[in-house]
Symmetry: C2
Subunit: 192 residues, 2 copies
Amino acid sequence: MSVQERKERERAGRERLILATARELAEQQGWDAVTTRRLAERIEYSQPVLYSHFRGKREIIGAVALEGAAEMAAALRAAARAADGPRARVTALARAYLDFAARNPAVYDAMFQLDGGLAFAKEDTPEPLKDAFAALLESLGEVAGDGVPPGLFTEVFWAALHGLATLTRAGRLPPEDAERRTRLLVDRLAMV
Amino acid sequence: MSVQERKERERAGRERLILATARELAEQQGWDAVTTRRLAERIEYSQPVLYSHFRGKREIIGAVALEGAAEMAAALRAAARAADGPRARVTALARAYLDFAARNPAVYDAMFQLDGGLAFAKEDTPEPLKDAFAALLESLGEVAGDGVPPGLFTEVFWAALHGLATLTRAGRLPPEDAERRTRLLVDRLAMV
DNA sequence: CTCGATTGTCTAGCAGTGCTAGGGTCGAAT
DNA sequence: ATTCGACCCTAGCACTGCTAGACAATCGAG
């Protein structure tokens, strides 16, 4: 028994190593630099080993995305918890979201920009993704305003944050005005 | 003289053919399907011919993006012109933007999602891109609200539209609520 | 009208990609 | 001690973007 358990532990450890390495490489040089050969070399195994853990590169991206979703959900809840009052909570939430995207561009790409083979807005959406949306909903629901479904409001607010995050990082928006844009967004969208 | 002019005309025509073919292929099967071989085969030339017109695939994407930007600017202006009053103009603008993104997903990707090697928010930003932003600014500037710079307001509104467009198309947002989300966005952001 | 030169195009090939088939090796169970 | 099976690696496939060099067609000069 114990030998089998040891093997499973080692396997799980190697899987974590793969994901951590892929993520590190992606953050350093972008996802284009994450090739199966390079990744295999860094973990000091041959390429086929990757395919005994994941169906392919897409699934590796998807796994990193799920990791990221869990982290983001935690970051959002922490920021919301540290703020007093609905309005301050929303501001903190928005800053935390944009901050996460800016600090973890590769992970953010894995979550929303690249094809990680993940389902969305469906029954079989992975739990971490639903939970990240839930983390937004918790703070945004209370400022949706009368007659506006919290879910709908959260979708719109989320879309705005996503747009700011991607356009800023792609160099489409000047970075220096980020804070003013955030304040404008919160001022207008959040009903006190 | 005339022979040289004829050659230039033919060259320009072939360049248009390349772009139209690339765009068509991308809309039909996605940009991943636009390989230099397939593209060359469709225009009935060999691959190196592509490189006598463009530096590489990236530049082809960039050229399609510029085409798209010009079309989008025209569509936005047409929609704004057909509406009466600032508020109706903004609503029409938002619908036109999202409609363009939904109807021309590959072109929209070329403009904002893929790397077309284009500069943004800088001095050397290509004219069509600046003009598309200007088309937004024309209608959005009048509803920015007191004390809010029109440019900043336009950036935020644009980011929100971009977020809605990309998340909807990626299956992250349920398509059936698109109109309600648009109305909510306009209601909150536009100062009458 | 002929003959170099220039222009244009194609064939063939390079290095790199994601992914997989097959053979060996090494450890575990009998 | 021996068999067996899990594990991993080498080698290779079909594809990618891109380019060098050979070849043919066209042009301008004599």
